[in-house]
């Protein structure tokens, strides 16, 4: 699929051919740093001074580049499609190659960064267990109750804030849990699931 770039976007990117391809590479690096850590206006000022252009032009160029890379990674467009989309901008061959290289080198990383923006549910991290036997309590002095105590660690979000739950179960429920979850694992291997996983790409 081709990317559709708005007028405004094309305008922002139009300052890129005016500088050297190595500078475009530098802009690309800055764009990625910004995607990872957030923008910092000081860098814009420094670059503007070095190149002799206005701060706004630098900012628009970098942001335009960021948006281009983000959209391309979001849709994981192929090389051909990327080149076709960029061709519309009317840049030179060398610039196009630089942009393509930027895209290909950083596609995976950008996707990972974008996935941090998705609302996430607590995800499984680890499970530790131990076998306990209750021998007595304040109300009953002679008991023999085996229990399995578990510590379930979940990560609340991509940054890794962990939440820990201490849970307990008895041996028969444990066997029931195992058989139910094994059925769950088998569900992804059925022909129905395989057909869907194969066809929705």
């Amino acid at each position: 699929m081709l990317l559709v770039l708005t007028e405004e976007h094309r305008e922002h990117l139009s300052m890129l051919p005016q500088v050297e391809p190595s500078v475009v590479g530098e802009f690309g690096r800055i764009a990625l740093e910004f995607l990872r850590r957030g923008t910092s206006p000081k860098i814009y000022e420094g670059a503007a001074r070095k190149l002799g252009v206005s701060v706004e032009a630098v900012q628009q160029g970098v942001e335009g580049l960021m948006f281009l890379l983000m959209e391309s990674s979001k849709h994981t467009i192929s090389e051909v499609d990327f080149m076709d989309s960029v061709l519309i901008l009317g840049f030179g061959e060398e610039l196009n190659q630089v942009l393509l290289q930027l895209y290909q080198d950083n596609k995976v990383q950008i996707r990972r960064i974008l996935s941090q923006l998705i609302p996430s549910q607590p995800a499984f991290h680890q499970l530790e267990w131990r076998l306990d036997v209750q021998l007595a309590s304040r109300s009953l002095r002679q008991r023999l109750v085996p229990t399995v105590t578990m510590r379930l660690m979940l990560s609340e979000s991509e940054e890794g804030q962990r939440s820990t739950r201490v849970l307990q179960t008895d041996p028969s429920t444990l066997l029931h849990l195992i058989s139910t979850l094994e059925a769950a694992l088998a569900a992804v291997k059925t022909s129905h699931s395989r057909r869907i996983l194969r066809n929705i790409k």
């Binding site: 990674s73 979001k74 849709h75 994981t76 996707r111 974008l114 996935s115 923006l117 998705i118 549910q121 607590p122 995800a123 499984f124 499970l127 530790e128 267990w129 076998l131 309590s137 304040r138 109300s139 009953l140 002095r141 002679q142 008991r143 109750v145 085996p146 399995v148 105590t149 578990m150 379930l152 979940l154 739950r165 201490v166 849970l167 307990q168 179960t169 008895d170 041996p171 429920t173 444990l174 066997l175 029931h176 849990l177 195992i178 139910t180 979850l181 094994e182 769950a184 694992l185 569900a187 992804v188 699931s193 869907i196 996983l197 929705i200 790409k201």
Partner: protein, 192 residues
């Protein structure tokens, strides 16, 4: 079993044939067990027509002493000889000991169940439910195309139930099941 003075006095009245005749004794014993198991603190459990002729205060003392004795016996898992010995010391005759012990045996399991539910512990897992989902696309990324599981553990703490929900990939679920199987294997080994 060690019993306090008031409990001993109450039990002596229970065993005393001048206080409770042959017909009233089993009724009182029954009422005591029923008040532990079913009545949930209802004071009317002792308001029985057969016991109308007894002094109310004395009846309450007997009831308190008898219920304490019953709970102590269940707590320490007392056997027949211990109970018989304690009751004999308190001047129970053989017939009354028999009646008491038979009723005790009948209700022992239920009393144990009630006593075992007293106490705190971590949330107890009762059940698990799962859902297999396939993520195609989201607000930030197209073509995600990954299957994942949503697991929900239903747990209970002291009557209140709570669900622990989390998502995991197939590999993580495999890991989880592996660990649970290890736990089950060690339970089996320990029981041999």
């Amino acid at each position: 079993m060690e019993l306090s003075e008031s409990v001993q006095k109450g039990l002596q009245s229970l065993g005393d044939q001048t206080v409770l005749d042959r017909c009233s004794f089993p009724v009182v014993v029954d009422a005591c067990f029923r008040s532990l198991l079913f009545s949930r603190g209802d004071p009317a459990v002792l308001d029985l027509p057969e016991l109308k002729h007894l002094d109310k205060i004395l009846l309450k003392q007997i009831h308190a002493a008898a219920t304490t004795f019953i709970l102590e016996a269940v707590k320490h898992n007392a056997d027949k000889s211990t109970i018989s010995f304690s009751l004999e010391e308190l001047t129970f005759n053989t017939e009354r000991i028999e009646t008491f012990y038979t009723t005790f045996q009948k209700h022992k399991k239920d009393l144990e169940l009630i006593l075992s539910s007293i106490g705190r512990g971590p949330a107890h897992i009762k059940d698990v439910s799962w859902r297999l989902q396939y993520q195609m696309k989201n607000g930030q990324l197209d073509k995600v195309n990954e299957p994942f599981y949503l697991i929900s553990l239903s747990t209970e703490t002291g009557g209140a139930s709570e669900d622990v929900d989390f998502s995991c990939t197939a590999e993580q679920l495999q890991d989880l099941v592996g660990k649970l199987k290890d736990a089950a294997k060690s339970v089996e080994k320990a029981s041999q």
